[in-house]
Symmetry: C2
Subunit: 339 residues, 2 copies
């Protein structure tokens, strides 16, 4: 059921099979499988993760090409609640290992917050990441284009940039290297540092050799209308015409709640085995939080894997269910021809 | 485009980036990604694979719970053809390694067959498997229930069997062990060997201890109506009441076309790395054909991985695309503030 401030108290005394931190594609897929394995789970979703911002989810088989990410999330949330999962809008602050169980402290409500604690046998960390965007005085101007024609994932949306004049927005010299991958899709690349980093001679020469101009002034605003980017205006008034853009300014993993636990990381990603199990046998990590491609299809498969591994663990540790009626009449043959 | 006997001749002279053997969930996901990476591909689909038979695809995030497998396939096929993929209904007979390319011989048409050959740089083996079903004189009687209430995958459909009287249909003693996993979902299990195998004393005792009757007579027919199983009638007239069933009679991988190639197998499954690459650097294997869970979500993710690996290979071997206009006017600053 959907939990909220009003009804969550009784659920604090329940021991869930799994608590899933993150209600994106990975977390919802895990919940779908866990519920269909007759296991109990609580999904805790802070809202507005990466898939929420996707306006057109075009590379996930089965969806109409204009399906926005938030529609996948809405539908998935409805499905898992129908199947008996609990779902809470809240921010997971800390997961504590209590031995055989975990306790999960959550902040619920932005104002008059309460801090309930839930308990589970397993943790599924599916809290993903959020992309850094150019910080402008008027952030609405950024949100007007981000996820529409200003993309954050080349694998997802390179195709939409094919042969279009494209801005590459970076915050470090290292991230400029995305230009030399993006040119698979378009050679009409202009690089914008937004005044955030120095660019060395070697990189300047490389850009020059490829014909990709470099703009180092801070951005004043994105230009366009109806979510269609038409260019960028810089602080000094320069206008650069663009039709699309890629933001390559890195991202922030949402994983602070795991800080008390001794897990193996590689950069911001959790290291997992082929079933998405971390170095802790009862903590799994999915999708963007683990190593690998940051794709909806991968996160959904990861949910399948983690839920199946949890089911196998719990099932193998449970006594077998027998057909008691047949055992009771052990001297009588069950109905039918039985040998 | 959709290829057929009438229009396929000109495509025989084309060198595709990839030929995908199998148009199930994995193959279509690979095609979707390849096309969005601006790579060319041909999907060759023999028809009626495992996902075609699923009546309700209930564990793939994003689909309505009553979506049949064939609807996912139909929609995916339409998507990839819209994106420029070629699609051919045919049976792949042989893949031959020609060094830098592969040739793929296909049988097209059940009558008046023709045997065209297509060529590609990469092969994506996504041809999956088909489940063995009980062979009855009237196979339509089996098809009336298979994929509806007579299931072939416990991970997919165990939930639908919860606490129902369930038949387990096997063709070997080993497969009877599925009963001791299926009892997670229901303890009301009756085992049917259809007269196909001997059952040893140890297994008989184990079944007796669990209260699961064993029926060794051949099956005469499945009973029920409107795809809802109500029982089984055996050759000797015995009727056993059931509401659902699981067929655990093994399966046949469709992989004969790879027989000339020296690939690493584990049983009927191809061994692959984390990007679904087989022991041949330009052959990938997806979904049910490789080791791992046989789930739609896994196949779809595998398509993502294989296509991405192929794109990386081809992209890295290609010359970079430069912004030629900017190079031509090398002594003139491009428009805007450029450093």
């Amino acid at each position: 059921m959907k939990l909220s401030k009003n009804n969550l108290h009784e659920h604090q005394h329940r021991l869930y099979d799994a608590i899933i931190v993150g209600g994106g594609a990975g977390g919802l897929s895990a919940a779908l499988y866990l519920q269909r394995y007759n296991l109990s789970c609580l999904v805790i979703e802070k809202g507005k993760g990466r898939s929420f911002w996707m306006q057109d989810l075009r590379n996930y088989l089965g969806l109409h090409e204009n399906t926005p990410g938030r529609e996948l999330l809405r539908h998935g949330q409805e499905r898992v609640v129908d199947l008996g999962a609990d779902h809470l809008r809240g921010f997971v602050e800390q997961v504590t290992d209590e031995g055989d169980t975990f306790s999960v402290r959550v902040k619920v409500g932005k104002t008059n917050s309460i801090y309930p604690t839930f308990r589970a046998k397993y943790i599924v960390a599916a809290s993903g990441l959020i992309d850094h965007l150019p910080q402008l005085e008027n952030m609405q101007n950024v949100f007007d284009y981000a996820g529409y024609t200003l993309h954050v994932c080349m694998i997802c949306d390179g195709y939409e940039m094919n042969n279009k004049p494209c801005g590459l927005f970076v915050n470090s010299e290292k991230n400029i290297n995305s230009a030399f991958v993006m040119n698979w899709f378009t050679p009409y690349i202009s690089v914008f540092t937004h005044g955030l980093c120095e660019v060395g001679e070697e990189m300047r020469n490389k850009l020059k050799e490829h014909g990709y101009p470099l703009y180092e002034q801070p951005i004043k605003k994105f230009l366009g209308h109806n979510h269609e980017l038409s260019g960028v205006e810089l602080e000094d008034g320069t206008v650069v015409d663009l039709e699309t853009g890629l933001v390559a300014m890195g991202s922030q993993h949402h994983s602070h709640y795991l800080s008390e636990l001794d897990l193996q990381w590689k950069g911001g990603n959790l290291i997992t085995d082929s079933m998405c199990r971390t170095s802790h046998p009862r903590i799994f990590a999915l999708g963007d939080l683990k190593e690998g491609l940051n794709q909806v299809s991968i996160a959904v498969a990861d949910g399948t894997l983690a839920a199946t591994a949890i089911w196998r663990d719990i099932r193998r540790a449970s006594p077998p269910r027998k057909w008691e009626e047949n055992l009771a009449q052990s001297t009588v043959e069950p109905v039918g021809v039985v040998s």
